[in-house]
Amino acid sequence: MGVHTRLQGLSVLVVEDEAMIAVLIETVLREAGCSIIGPVASSGTALEKIAHEKLDAALLDVRIDGDDAYTVADTLTACGIPFVFVSGLDQQDIPARYRRCTYVAKPFRPDSILTCLDEIVGKPD
């Protein structure tokens, strides 16, 4: 817990349509001291949250409702909000544009999420 001090008080948007996975992510984040925006299950709701809430970071599932979340990713990038892809897709199935983004594969260890968040938050803009 003390390892990821940076994450304390971070407000993180969670975009994940599978309820149980959202719960898992929430648990991990809460234990790390983050405050959670969402979880949201659709790109539309995600975009609303981005527009109206203050976010420090986001965890983004690539496939939401059978659709891709790349518009959300673009919006996050445009707003300068760092994010981590959390996905069951193989990296090769991710379009080339986004392949270099930070990525956590499902199933994940709780630590992976936190390490990645740490990474992206620590990066200078």
Partner: protein, 1032 residues
Amino acid sequence: MDTPFPIVGVGASAGGIEALESFFKAMAPAPGMAFVIVTHLAPKRESLLPEILARDTQMPVLIAAHDQAVDLNHVYVAPADAVLDIEKGRLRIRPIEDGRERAPIDSFFAALALDQGQYAIGIVLSGAGSDGTLGIKAIKEHGGLTLAQGADHSGPRHSSMPESAIASGLVDVAVPVEAMPEQLVAYVRSFDILSKSVDKDDETEAIRRAICATLLDQTGHDFNGYKTRTFYRRVERRMQVLQLRSLEAYADRLRQDAGEVNTLFRDLLIGVTNFFRDAKAFEVLERLVVPRLLESKGSSDTIRVWVPGCATGEEVYSLAIMLREQIEQMRSRSKIQLFATDIDEAALAVARAGRYPDSLLKGVSKERLDRFFVLEGVSYVINKQIRDMCVFSSHSVVRDPPFSRMDLISCRNLLIYLNSELQGHVIPVFHYALKPNGFLFLGTSENISQHGALFASVDKKSRVFQRREDGAVVPHLPTLFRRHGIPAGVTVEARAPMGRSLRQSVEARVLDRYAPPHVVVTREGDVINYSAGTGKYLEAPPGRPSRALMAMARRGLRLPLRAALQEAIESGRAAERDNVAVETEDDGELVKVTVEPLRDNGNDTLYLVVFTELPTPATRDEPQGKPRKGRVHDPNLERIEHDLRETRERLQSMVEEYETAIEELKSSNEEMVSVNEELQSTNEELETSKEELQSVNEELQTVNHELTVKIDELDRANSDLRNLYESTEIATIFLDRDLIIRSFTPAVARIFNLIPGDRGRPLTDIAHHLDYAELAQDIQQVFGARQPIDRRVDRRDGAAHYIVRALPYWTGSGNVEGAVLTFIDVTGLANAEEQQRVLVAELNHRVKNMLTVVISIATQTLKRANNAEAFGQTFLDRLHAMALSYALVSRDQWSEVSLVEVVREQLSPYLSERGDRVAIDGPATLLKPKLALSLGMIIHELGTNAVKYGSLSVGSGSLEVAWSLEKRNGDQTGLVIDWSERGGPAVKSAGRRGFGLTLIEREVNHGLGGKAQIEFKEAGLQVKLRVPLRPE
């Protein structure tokens, strides 16, 4: 090893194989010589002759190879497509590029003669044409032996070749082919005669002189001054041929055999009849004669040259070349015409052809060869310019009327064969034939000393003479209708002078004194004997001396004399003319003229002309000394006589004029005959051309037929190809190396906008629908690497996918001459692949999600479990519930699942025991997989809860699960599920919320986008779930 042996060249053509077989069958197994066979083979055909001849002889028979030494008792056959040569006893092969060599036999024989000299033997066998004649000449000239296939009943099949050789007079032995081996073997054995050196001792000298005497006697030519060594060589050769072993034996033979004398004579006379023989003599011609000839010629004039005895034509062409050169050097525009004659038809044929093997032209300068000859194979042919200057015809100087108005006569190989009698006949003919101041050119050993009156010497050493105007005699020209029948070359016996004996003396005296004056004339009217007292009737004519009776006859006598002579000649009996008035010196006379044929010992008929004086009626009356005309003076008679005289004179003049005209006509006629011969020979050439054309025509027809067959095959193949193209679905384009479209299948139209007229346009000009910028590059790579290239290419609009294969286009010769492009439509395949990829990705995603869900559930369950056992049970329970749901979903390929099935499945453990207490009700509803899975889990939790804590935990409790559909905002259909528990234990507060209810809420609210209402009512737990049936 160096004992020389004879090498026998054998030439044969059509009919030759038969002859060769007979020849070798009759030949001894080791005859002591070598044989080289030259035939007229069709080009590019190998000779089978070695195999054929190997059957007939034990000697080895081989095809001649280049630089092969000629070995004793071996037989060599000339190969196809080559000309054979021999140098220092080794055979040499010169390949011919195209066509055939027309005279390979001449060529080889000439080379053989030069190389082997007296050890050369040439044999001409059956064949058409005259190949071999020139070669025989060469062998003979260099001291070799010559044979030709003589005719007999089995004779040569084609006799023209041997006949031509024999006609040249240079064949030593003309016998049937079976008789030749014997002759050859004997000849070879006789070579030891030659090995004896001839000592010029007195004995041999005496024999030589004796031989020369015999020759002189018979031929009239003195050979004492002849080169001794050559003389002996020629004599020895004749001894060899006749198998005589000593000079005396030969001398004896000569005395007995006139034929042999002739043969020796001819052999001795063989010089080298080459081109430009006696170069010095030609120089004299150039220097002295030609300029003078040209002096008087204008540009429309022609220099006319006659060459009698032209034989095979070397002389004629040499003259023509020299004259042509001189004319051009002096920039004269005069034309030149040469008339070349001979009685030897075979030689004329050779001369007309104008073709000589190069070995016979060694004396001609390279400039002349290049300028005036055309090289064909290994022979030179005289070029058209020179050939057109020469006309060849058959003509005898002895028998036939001569040419006339000649500027130059070159007769260098003829007179020596004639005795002085014939020469005496021929020289005046030449005189007649020449124009005033024309030139005569003779051979080096010929002379015209007896005819000094006719010709003046210009250069004695070179034998150039000029016609004299003063000493001319009226020539005794043979008329066309009377022929002597003396063939040239046959010696004519000299006329023996009349012998004298007593009786003859007496008779002569009587004749002289008492017989009437008479003369003996030939049929031409030449006096050969005068009696005494002819002065009254004959007078030496003014001008040149003449023996012509007519020229000498006094006035009044000529006409009757001529008539009487004519009559006597024609009738063969005596003819008379009576009362002929002759004007003598002192007075006139009447005379009776009698002409009577007189048979001499010889062949000719002579005629006796007798002048018998008739008494004049007037002389008895008149005294002596009266003026001349001692006749009765009758004015009428005088007038009549005067008229008669005048008439006779006029007649005489006319006759003379007509005679002259006739002579000129005869000459013209001869020229016409000559021209006619030329035309005939041209005609023959045309005939030959026609035959050649016909055969070419036949060949062309055959070729044409073959081509037609080929074209049919081609049409069929094309048709097959077209059908193949149209039947195939694979779009194919054929390109050449410049990427020009050659052809394409109809299926290409889907990809490229091609119409049939686009054949011949470059591919790069044509628009296509493909996203394939590297097309041209790929094709170039195919050309370079000569390997196919495959590429996956899509239509720009993505509607279709192709595999494009570019292959090199191989021709039969192993060259890459283009490319083949095929487009295989793999859209279906591509789509299927794409779909599969998508599915696999989807599967991946789901599996990973599912595992994550499992982890999540595990984590949450673990948190709330008191002990491992409790954890295990709850967790495994949940896992099984998930598994059930997944099984249901996957059973229908993840399409849709029936809601009632989901509910039943999850409640099945409870249904069996408590079936009557559970009610499930609702319309048939299909759920999407995600909804089905979520509801599965939810039903499981609710069910577990009910069993543990709710209505199903007691025996009186009941459960009702009911659902219905409702409309949601927009067009959405919503599902409403009511879970009602009754009769269970009193519900405690929501404090005992387990994870289950959290799960349900989260699933419904978050995961499904719906609403969950959970109420702990007094009767029991009431849960209302509202979810959209289809995701928004």
